[in-house]
């Protein structure tokens, strides 16, 4: 369970100070599915980075399961990321020289999983997203949708508590978008994840049970009865 209290994030750009987040209060329950929307530069990605222990707030608390991430040393934050949080990025962020299977394995490396077990788990994860036949393919040999499925397999292979997705369908066409969303929805339901996704896509947002909107660093959350 996430609890964000008065989270502020300021950046300095030259002489100006930018308030990416401005006193954000937010609670995300375990197994929740939250979609975040908002204009470009509104603070969506910054909020996701706070949730993913990728960055620290300038002030406020980011509490995950009772631990304030803002106060953890770097080594502990790294461990939290490796054990509890899965990321899916808009640009897939796969290592171009590694095969699909090896890319998925990179998520297990920091957990100290043995090579053989790593290979088995990676193959299993790729099979679960429909890429069981593409284990040895390089990212460059796959379509955008397939690459994003590899990224999803990489995020989920370590069985995290939380899945954070930053515009996961932003680089995909409509049919691929649906395909990826189907995979993500299925995983969310099957694995009981806490799933937070940033998107510009209103069609996706409409289906979300909770919808948060960030404008100029301020957040408003509403329940979606239709979803």
């Amino acid at each position: 369970m996430y609890e964000l209290r008065g989270v502020t994030k300021r950046y300095t750009r030259g002489k100006d100070t930018v308030h990416a987040l401005d006193g954000v209060d937010l609670t995300i329950a375990d197994g929740d599915r939250l979609v975040i929307q908002g204009p470009t530069g509104g603070g969506k990605s910054t909020l996701l980075q706070m949730l993913g222990a990728l960055d620290r707030p300038s002030s406020g608390e980011v509490v995950l399961d009772g631990t304030d991430l803002a106060k953890l040393p770097e080594a502990r934050l790294t461990r939290v990321r490796s054990e509890s949080i899965g990321f899916v990025f808009q640009s897939f962020n796969l290592i171009p020289t590694l095969t699909a299977q090896e890319n998925v394995e990179t998520a297990l490396v920091p957990l100290g999983v043995k090579a053989k077990e790593r290979r088995e788990k990676a193959a299993e994860a790729l099979t679960s997203v429909g890429l069981g036949e593409r284990l040895g393919h390089l990212p460059g040999e796959m379509s955008g949708g397939q690459q994003q499925r590899v990224a999803i397999a990489r995020a989920l292979v370590k069985q995290p508590k939380v899945l954070l997705a930053d515009e996961p369908t932003g680089n995909l066409d409509e049919s691929m978008r649906d395909e990826i969303m189907d995979v993500l929805d299925r995983m969310w339901k099957e694995l009981g994840l806490t799933f937070v996704m940033v998107t510009h896509d209103s069609a996706i947002a409409r289906k979300a049970p909770r919808l948060a909107t960030i404008r100029k660093g301020r957040i408003t959350v509403k329940e979606n009865a239709e979803a």
């Binding site: 990605s45 980075q49 993913g52 990728l54 960055d55 770097e74 080594a75 790294t78 461990r79 990321r81 490796s82 054990e83 990321f87 990025f89 808009q90 640009s91 962020n93 290592i95 171009p96 020289t97 590694l98 090896e102 394995e105 990179t106 998520a107 490396v109 920091p110 957990l111 090579a115 790593r118 990489r154």
Partner: protein
Amino acid sequence: MFFTYLRRELRRRRKAALVVASGLALGIALVIVVDSVSSGMGRAQDKVLQSLYGLGTDMTVTKAASPTPSTSDRPRFRFDAQEDGSEEEQSTDRVMVQGFQTLAGTTVGKVAGQDGVADAVGGLSLQVVKVSGQFTRGQFQQDGSGGQGQGGGPGAQQAPQGRVEGGGADFDVNSYSVYGTDVTEPALGPLTSSAITSGRTFKESEADAKVAVADSAYAKEKKLRTGSTVTIKGTKFEVVGIATADSGDAAANLYIPLKQAQTLGDAKDKVTTIYVKATDSQRIDGVKSAIQKNVPGTTVTTSADLADTVSGSLSTASSLAAGVGKWLSIVVLAAAFLVAGLLTSSAVSRRVREFGTLKALGWRSGRVTRQVVGEAVVNGLVGGVLGIALGLAGAYVVTAVSPTLQAQLGGGTGGPGGGFGGGGMGGPGRQAAAKTLDVALTAPVSLTTIALAVGLAVAGGLVAGGFGGWRASRLRPADALRRVE
């Protein structure tokens, strides 16, 4: 995963890896060539020095320089003029001590008794000049007018008037060097720089025997063989062996037992040079100081002193290798390290998203840094292998071409019989003011040089990896991901 990732990345960035490796290879190759050429110079110099004083000698002791000897010490030749028509050949030879400076034979014992001296042996260098030929008296031709007394006064006796016609001399001068060697100490002294190629060397029992060993070049010129006889100042010596110098010229034309040389040179119990072997090569300077302090009136010359007197193209090339070559290698290596570092750092900048993603997945900074350093070290090793191959090829070419270098020895220092200028360590054949020797340059590559190259390759990789790793370790995952958005 480390090696898989490493292999794939190096394959993917072949060109960049090759640029880094080539830069390091160039620097390493230069180090190998300069090092091997320097080593070759050292060997050439050793060869030159060895040809002077033989194997095993660490220093020589000679009498300290003193003023030029008086004219009475100089050799004089006297011949009687022969009657006209006489074809009788006259000959006379003079045996002189080289440099006219000798030490008492007891000095050898004093030197041998110094702390740090393993062995000392004395030798006497002689120079023999033999003049032989015909000397005919001129004929006095009297003119008819009679003579006039020198006094011119009345009553003075009238001398016959006329002039001397004809007469003259037809002679040959043969000069050669003789070295009196201590036959009881065959392991030390100038004869050790030659190998016996025919016959035998001296026996210990031949301390006062009339036997000689001839230098092969001199033997060829004078048509001497084992069993031949040579006459020095009326004394006949049997040639028992022919010796060939290992390099350069031989130390003397003829070698005879020391006692015989002392008799011939009228230098009883005298030596010109004492050859000294130290107990430890690290103590040579100390031994030199001890001898100079405890045995007054002597000049001690070590091989290092002698090396200082080597001039000519060998010296110039040696200085170039030690100076320009060394600094050029250092500059090229430093540049190669810097370029490798900057290229690796630049490669990290291009891979910010990749490393940021890995950090987001939970990779510790140390693991990411290791990956970067690992890639750089492999680049360095590839550079090392290329550099070693290139360096070996360069050294091979130098050895194959074997450029000839000239070494001039003993130019200008020391007085007669003392120091190198006058021969000093030079021994009997080297008493001239300067001596020029031709030496072929080689470029031997030692295992130490190869180890140095490998060390430099690893160091180059670590330096480059250090640049890149430092940059990678400072990446924050959020910044890394933000930069690509």
